[in-house]
Structure formats: structure tokens, C-alpha cells
Amino acid sequence: MVQPDLQTVRLSNGKEITVHTQLFINNEFVPGHGPLIETINPATEEVICSVHSADKQDVDAAVNAAATCFKDTWRKVAPAEKARLIHKLADLMERDRDELATLDALDNGKAFTVARDVDITDSIACYRYFAGWADKIHGKTIDTTFDKLCYTRHEALGVVGAVIPWNYPTMMAAWKFAPALAAGNCIVMKTSEITPLPAYKFAALVKEAGFPAGVVNIITGYGHTTGSFLGSHPLVSKMAFTGSTATGRKIMESSSSSNLKKLQLELGGKSAQIVCADADLDKAAEWSCGGIFNNHGQSCNAGSRILVHESVHDQFLELFIKHTKAMIKIGDPFDEDTFQGPQISKGQFEKILNYIEIGKKEGAIVSYGGKRWGNKGYYIEPTVFTNCHNQMRVMREEIFGPVVVIAKFKTIEEAIDIANDSDYGLAGGVYTTDLDTAITVTNEVKTGTMWVNCFDVFDQSTPFGGYKQSGFGKELGKYALQEYTQVKVVKILRSSKI
């Protein structure tokens, strides 16, 4: 008996909601041929429900639906009409904001208020931002010799594959869908099998908004099966991936052994926040606290290393712990006061606790937290390590949890060197009141984003993406359009006679 698409699910407050659980292909919810996968509520450790997953034939069906739609339909739709559809989708997301936030909070464990006011709000803004680009994708005419007309076309790629992570389910989908659609592509997205529910609700809105069948296709499944089938599919022209560096490598390998599909990788980070002696320490403490503990530390750009000038270290630490206590209220995601919910899964939970042990063994001191919180759900206390140096594993390896490591520095040059002494290069920050310091540090640190006197501040219009092994390619901003278009140059020679 095939599990029906719609399932009823109970929330912790007793309310019941209906969720989609089948694959969304060609504007229809269809059963998958892969195994049913249980999705867990990380706040309770209980199964929410099971969802269908995609095997090879399902991935084929989705990719073929996208390819057919692109060839016959989507590429012929006027850009202003594409924009209109994306705006309509954003309107529907606004209408169903609470329901979308509920699913993000239920499946991921983030606080409902955060899901609603950050994740869903920013996702809607992302769709609106890129809708505005749909009819503004310009090639150039390029003067060469008088007898030629030369111009470039920025064409859509065709079928784009996207594999997204579990840390911001709706928002990570938006970051991929919005520019891909605006640039005229059709998409097959594999959501994380850990958080499959939000995107299926989104899929229903895609259909309601009036997108032609096959433009948006959403499936879920394991990385090593479903993800792999997508990554090696010959009809997929590009893979956009956000997740771990290890999986990023696999995707790159599968592209090289299949059709050399274009790649965009947004991987891990170990971003450094540099607190200078002349910083406004209280503000720096407040910003840097959010910089690591937002989203329970489960952000690729988490400011997980804090480098503090030795002259202000103790003062800063005191303020940092003060802000941590004030800001971080742990609790049920559906509790209005909750700031921090559980970590996403048992596996991640154990991994983070293990890193805390490693840190202790390496000689770092737990100045705050360091333990599980409560006895149900994957909750971990916000944890502060001090007395760290940059060769420790906890200073070099991505923990992806609410664990910050703090080290001292003597000179700005030293801080820059420590910040750059990492295989990663996703983001960073500097807290200073000095103009020269701000510009010099932001010039010298090798990362894709540098924040000054703030952290974790995002806009739809500014690009995001890493240096070094944090990946390549940009999301958000006009720069994202380059990832979803390919350039053709046309050169017309006219004979000298009319």
C-alpha cells in the first residue's frame, strides 16, 4: 500500500497540521520508488511522519519533466511574466507565512518566531528581489571591427539541480530557486532528508501560483543515493550545492565523471570575529554572540572563532557571557520566548558533544556551558571555550553547533594571520572604531564576506559565497545571476556590399 501524500501531524501544542509527503514532479505529488524515510522532531526525538524518497527512476522523471518544460514552455515565457509568477509565489508565501514557519520550526527545531521573522520573511524578500531581475538580464554589444555586429546573450542553462541542507530549509530553497527561476531555468531540487516537509508545502504554492508543470520539481532522499543520481545526471546542466565540504568534493567528482556540469558550492566555514582594543566592547560582545549562537550555531558562516586583543580579553569575555545569558533562552521551538531550540539530529548532537570533549582534552577551558541541556531533545547549552590557540582541532574544524572558541592576539597583523590560517574562507568580522583598521583588516582577511561592527547581517542584494575551501560561486545579489546563465557570443559578419 502506497503511503498517501497527505499526512496529519501533531504539534507540541496539540494542534494538528496536514503535510505533503510525496515527491513533487511536474506539478503533481507522486509516490517515490525509494524507501520511506522517517523525519524526526529534534525537540522531542520522536518521528513526525515518513516521507517518500526518490530513487534513480524518480530522479530521471524529475529531470525529464524539467528538461521537457524548459524546451517546450519555460524558455518561451516572457521575462516579465516570469517575474509576475515569482511575485505571485511571494504573495502566497506571505499569505501562508505562519504555516511555512511552523513546518520549518517543527522539522528543523528552530524557534517558530525566528522561522517566521527571519527565515520566511527573508525567503519572501529573496523571491521578490530576484523577480525584479527577470527582465533585466542584459548582454552587451561589443565593438570589434566595423564589418561585424557582435553581441552576447546571457542564456539560461536549462535544467539546474540543487541540493540543499537542513539548517534553513525554506531559505536555502529560496536562495537557489529565486535566481534560477529569474534567469529562466527549470529546477530539480533535492531537499535534505532530515527536513523534507517545508519544501513540499512550498511546492503546493508553486502550483497554486500558476507555474507551468516541470519548472519546479522537489524531491528528497539520501545524499549518497538521490543526491548522487542528480549529480551525475547527463541532462542536468548545473549543480548548486550547499552543505559540507566533504559532500561538496563528491559532487565535484561526479560532475567530472559525468557531463562536466557547472558547479556552485557553498560549503563550511570557521569564520573569525576579530575584536580590537578600540572596539565598543559591549556592542562587539552582543553582535559576536549572535554571530555564533544564531540558528544554534548551525550556520556555515557562524563566527565560531573569536580573536580578542589581549588588553581587552577579560573584559570582553565577561560581556560576552553576560550577553549569552541574556540572549540565549533555550526551550521548545513553539514557545514565544525561545531563542535556541535543539540541534538538528542525534548524529549532530553527538558530534558536537564529542568536540566539546576534544576541546577539553586539548587544553581549552570551558568558561560557559559545555553540556547537554535538559533530558529530552537534542539540546546543547551555548558553550564558550577560552585559552585556545589556532592549532587546536576546535579552532580549525567546523563544529556546527553552539560552541565558540576564543583566543587572544597581540597585534592586528597577528589577528589577520590567525584568521587566514584556515582552509576555510567563508566569512569574518572585525570590531573596531578605527577607520584604517576597518579597511585594512577587511582588505587582508581572505573571506567572501567581511562584517565590520556587526555579524551575520544579510541582504538579498549583496553576494554571499566563500573563498578557499568554503566553496565557489555567489548566492544573492546580481552576482548570483552569473551562476544561472551561460554566455554566448554572436558575431555577424556583413559583407562590404549591400
Binding site: A80, H87, R128, G132, D135, L149, D436, S461, S495, I498
Partner: protein
């Protein structure tokens, strides 16, 4: 005294309208009133409040206060949201607006509904999408952080014509607001009505007071005051060459406000004998001159046909021209409505007279249609010579001159032999010819195998005395921004 009036169209549709000056989100009285005429009947439609220097000053002050009171630093997403909301409201009230437009301007209702309303909405939506996409550059300079920001100019003035009242309003407002300027629009005193309805929608959409102000008045009074105002930092004008000169002069004599002008044209339409489908060519060419009763700045008013197909072209063109019904713009099958006013009517009839006196053959038309209103038959002159007045001067009516050509270099030279340069067209199936002629024609818009394709996303404006600056597309943003270059010296670099 209530400024609200109700107007009933011939089909029974009623529209309620506030006839005041729209300043600071309120409708207020002016120094005087102006009667606006229905050009299909010659009768007065309504009496609207008119602005003179005093009211212009009030409007500019409101715009100035709004600019420095928050609009300059407004959140781009909020500006976009308001513009999208206005577009939605224009569509919601599309019937009211289309009826007002047809009553006031005379263009067929089918055109107002299917062309102008979507045109306005598309314009607003296109530029709404630009609000948060205004980028400067970082320019690599040794030892410095050197970058540009594209800032709004401030209070902008827009003086718009009567031939496409709503559309011209949208063309001015959209890029100005998107780049966080505030604006005072002076509509044509001949067609003030649809803008007044849009003014009410601007308030309903939630724009802060003073951001968009809409007034009407005579050029020499209100237009002059706006062009000379010391707190207006930029003026955008669409209209005649003569008025364009006056505005440029006014700017020169006052505060050197930035000026963009979209003026007239005498656009050439060149047809080669290698065209694939003559019927299509005739379709486009006829649209090019008789659309909007010839009251289009880029009208293809000079047609040059290669001798091999000249006779066939003229025969088909005449047939198509005759098939277009000239009459009541509220009837679904009407192609051509009246000219805008008695003044314009007389002017056009005078040119027809001039053409005859110059020795051209009035091959078709040339007469008034009916007794009431300002209707003129679609008119064709043949046997024309390059130096005739009807070949050189903008008539702005349903009058086309068709000329035969043999030599290609000669026809291009003739096409370019004009002080204007707004648009031009070439019809051919040959790719080399299409590109070569497009390159050779000195005009801001070139159409190949079509005519009058004007969209919100592509620039429009003239070469030579057809104007200064480009409207629409990304290019329009340059009209409403000024560049600041900032160089931060980074001392003691590490």
C-alpha cells in the same frame, strides 16, 4: 466648494474624480480653472483646478520636504512595495482610467484598455524591480578605498504631453521614484483627467505625502515656474522642440538643473524590395503613422519604398488605411479617434494645404470627418520632394509622405537629412542590409521589420534635436541619479 466631479462616458460608464491639484497627498484648489474638452465632441468634459507659480511653489516645497524627510533614505524594498501596489491599483481601476483617457484624449477605448493600462502597470513594475539594484563601483586605486555611489538628485520636475497622458506619467514617475527622488508632475492642460485619478491611487497605495505631486496648468505659467524653480534639481520634458528649447533656457538661467528632453521627430521608414511579406510591411507601416491619429513623437511620417515594389506597396497601404474606421473612440471597431484639439486640427489641415500648394499629390484623404469633434481622414501624399515642408516639419497628425527610391546610399542620406533623430525603420529580409542600414541611420530607436515597438525595458530617446537622454530600461536610471565618488585614504597600510 467640492472639487469632486462625476463624468459619464457615452457607453454609460461613470467615473468620479477629484479635480484639485494633488499636492502633499491632498487635492487643493488652484489659482484658476481650466476646462478640458472632449475632442470627439468639442464639448467640455470637466473643469479642473490649474496651477500657477504659487501652487508650483507649494508642490515643490512639499516634494522637497518629503525628500529630506525620509524618502531620500527610504528602504528600497518599501519603495518597491509601494510601486507594485500602485501598479495593482491601476489595474484594479483600469476601466475608470481607460474611460477617462479616451474621453480626454480621444484615443480608442480598445487602445486605452489593451495598450495604455498594461503599459502603465508594466512601467511601474519594471522600475519597482530596480529599487534595490542601484549599484556603484569600487575602483581599484592604490592605497585608497575608492568607490562610487549613485545618489538621487532630489526634487524632480516632469512636464508631460497630451498624446499618451497616463503612459507619459508612468514613464516619468517610475524611474524617479525608484531611485528615491520626489517629483512634481505638470500634466498637459489638454488632458489632465487620468492623472488625477492616478493621484488618488498614489495616496491609496500609501506613498508618503509629497513624494509624488500632480498638478496641471498652462506651460507659460505652471511649466515655466517649474522649469525655473531653484529647488527643482532636475526637469524631464516630453513635448515640442520649441518648448524643449525654452525649458533648457530656463534651466540655464536659473540653477543649471539637469535637463532631459524627449522632443519631436520626422522618422523615416525605409522599405526594400526584398521583403518576405509585403502585407506585414504594410501593417507595420500603417501602424507607424496612423496609430494614435498620428500623434506619436516617433511616427514613421516619411516612407521610402524601393521602386520595384512601390506601386504594390502604395496600393496595399491605401487599402489598409481606408479600412481603418475613423470615428467614435468608444466603438470597438474604431481604429482612429479625433485629433486632440481644435488648434492641432487646424495645424494639421494647414499642413495638408501646404503639401498641396508645394506640388505634392494628395493621394488619399485630406478632409475633415464628420461635423463634431476634430477628426481627420488618414491622408497620403505622394510625388514628394525632400525639401518640401511636409517632408521636413513634424505634422503630428494622420498624414504620411510616401517617396520612391532606387539608390540605397541616397535613401539613407535622405533619411538622415533632418534635424530630428528620434526613430527610424528598415524593412528587408537580408541580414547584411538590416545591420548595415541600422548602423547607418542616425536615430535613437531603429526598428527592423516592425514599428513602434516600445517597451519599458529598452531605452527610448532621440539623436540630434529629438532630445537629450534616454527613458526606459536601465538607461533611465542615469537621468535620476548623480554620481558621488568617495576616496578614503588608508594611512599606514600594513
Amino acid at each position: 466648494m467640492s472639487l469632486i466631479t462625476e463624468i459619464t462616458a457615452p457607453d454609460g460608464h461613470k467615473v468620479t474624480l477629484n479635480t484639485g491639484l494633488f499636492i502633499n497627498n491632498e487635492f487643493v484648489a488652484g489659482s484658476s480653472t481650466i476646462d478640458t474638452i472632449n475632442p470627439a465632441t468639442g464639448k467640455v468634459l470637466a473643469s479642473v483646478q490649474a496651477a500657477e507659480a504659487k501652487e508650483v511653489d507649494l508642490a515643490v516645497e512639499a516634494a522637497h520636504k518629503a525628500f529630506y524627510g525620509g524618502w531620500k533614505t527610504s528602504n528600497p524594498r518599501e519603495r518597491a512595495r509601494l510601486m507594485l501596489k500602485l501598479a495593482d491599483l491601476v489595474e484594479r481601476d483600469g476601466e475608470d482610467l481607460a474611460h477617462l483617457e479616451t474621453l480626454d484624449n480621444g484615443k480608442p477605448l480598445s487602445n486605452s484598455r489593451r495598450g495604455d493600462i498594461p503599459g502603465v502597470a508594466n512601467q511601474l513594475r519594471y522600475f519597482a524591480g530596480f529599487c534595490d539594484k542601484l549599484h556603484g563601483k569600487v575602483i581599484e586605486t592604490e592605497g585608497k578605498l575608492s568607490y562610487t555611489v549613485h545618489e538621487p538628485i532630489g526634487v524632480c520636475g516632469g512636464i508631460i504631453p497630451w498624446n499618451g497622458p497616463m503612459l507619459m506619467l508612468a514613464w516619468k514617475i517610475a524611474p524617479a521614484i525608484a531611485t528615491s527622488n520626489t517629483i512634481v508632475i505638470k500634466t498637459s492642460e489638454l488632458t489632465p483627467l487620468s492623472a488625477l485619478k492616478i493621484a488618488a491611487l498614489i495616496k491609496e497605495a500609501g506613498f508618503p505625502p509629497g513624494v509624488i505631486n500632480i498638478i496641471t496648468g498652462y506651460g507659460p505659467k505652471a511649466g515655466e515656474a517649474l522649469s525655473r524653480h531653484m529647488k527643482v534639481s532636475k526637469i524631464a520634458f516630453t513635448g515640442s522642440l520649441a518648448t524643449g528649447r525654452a525649458i533648457m533656457k530656463a534651466a540655464a538661467e536659473t540653477n543649471l538643473k539637469k535637463v532631459t528632453l524627449e522632443l519631436g521627430g520626422k522618422s523615416p521608414n525605409i522599405i526594400f524590395d526584398d521583403v518576405d511579406n509585403l502585407d506585414e510591411v504594410v501593417f507595420w507601416s500603417r501602424l507607424g503613422i496612423y496609430a494614435n491619429a498620428g500623434q506619436v513623437c516617433c511616427a514613421g511620417s516619411r516612407i521610402y519604398v524601393q521602386e520595384g515594389i512601390y506601386d504594390k506597396f502604395v496600393e496595399k497601404f491605401k487599402a489598409l488605411a481606408l479600412s481603418g474606421k475613423v470615428g467614435n473612440p468608444f466603438e470597438e471597431d474604431t481604429f482612429q479617434g479625433p485629433q486632440i484639439s481644435e488648434g492641432q486640427f487646424n495645424r494639421i489641415m494647414n499642413y495638408i494645404d501646404i503639401g498641396k500648394k508645394e506640388g505634392a499629390t494628395c493621394y488619399l484623404g485630406g478632409n475633415k470627418v464628420g461635423d463634431a469633434g476634430y477628426f481627420i481622414e488618414p491622408t497620403i501624399f505622394t510625388d514628394v520632394k525632400p525639401d518640401m515642408r511636409i517632408m521636413k516639419e513634424e505634422i503630428f497628425g494622420p498624414v504620411v509622405a510616401i517617396s520612391k527610391f532606387k539608390d540605397v546610399d541616397d535613401v539613407v542620406a535622405q533619411a538622415n537629412d533632418t534635424t530630428y533623430g528620434l526613430a527610424a525603420a528598415v524593412h528587408t529580409s537580408n541580414i547584411t542590409r538590416a545591420i548595415t542600414i541600422s548602423n547607418a541611420l542616425e536615430a535613437g530607436s531603429i526598428w527592423v521589420n516592425c514599428y513602434n515597438i516600445i517597451t519599458e525595458n529598452s531605452p527610448f530617446g532621440g539623436y540630434k534635436q529629438s532630445g537629450i537622454g534616454r527613458e526606459n530600461g536601465e538607461y533611465a536610471l542615469a537621468n535620476y541619479t548623480q554620481i558621488k565618488a568617495i576616496k578614503i585614504n588608508v594611512g599606514n597600510p600594513i
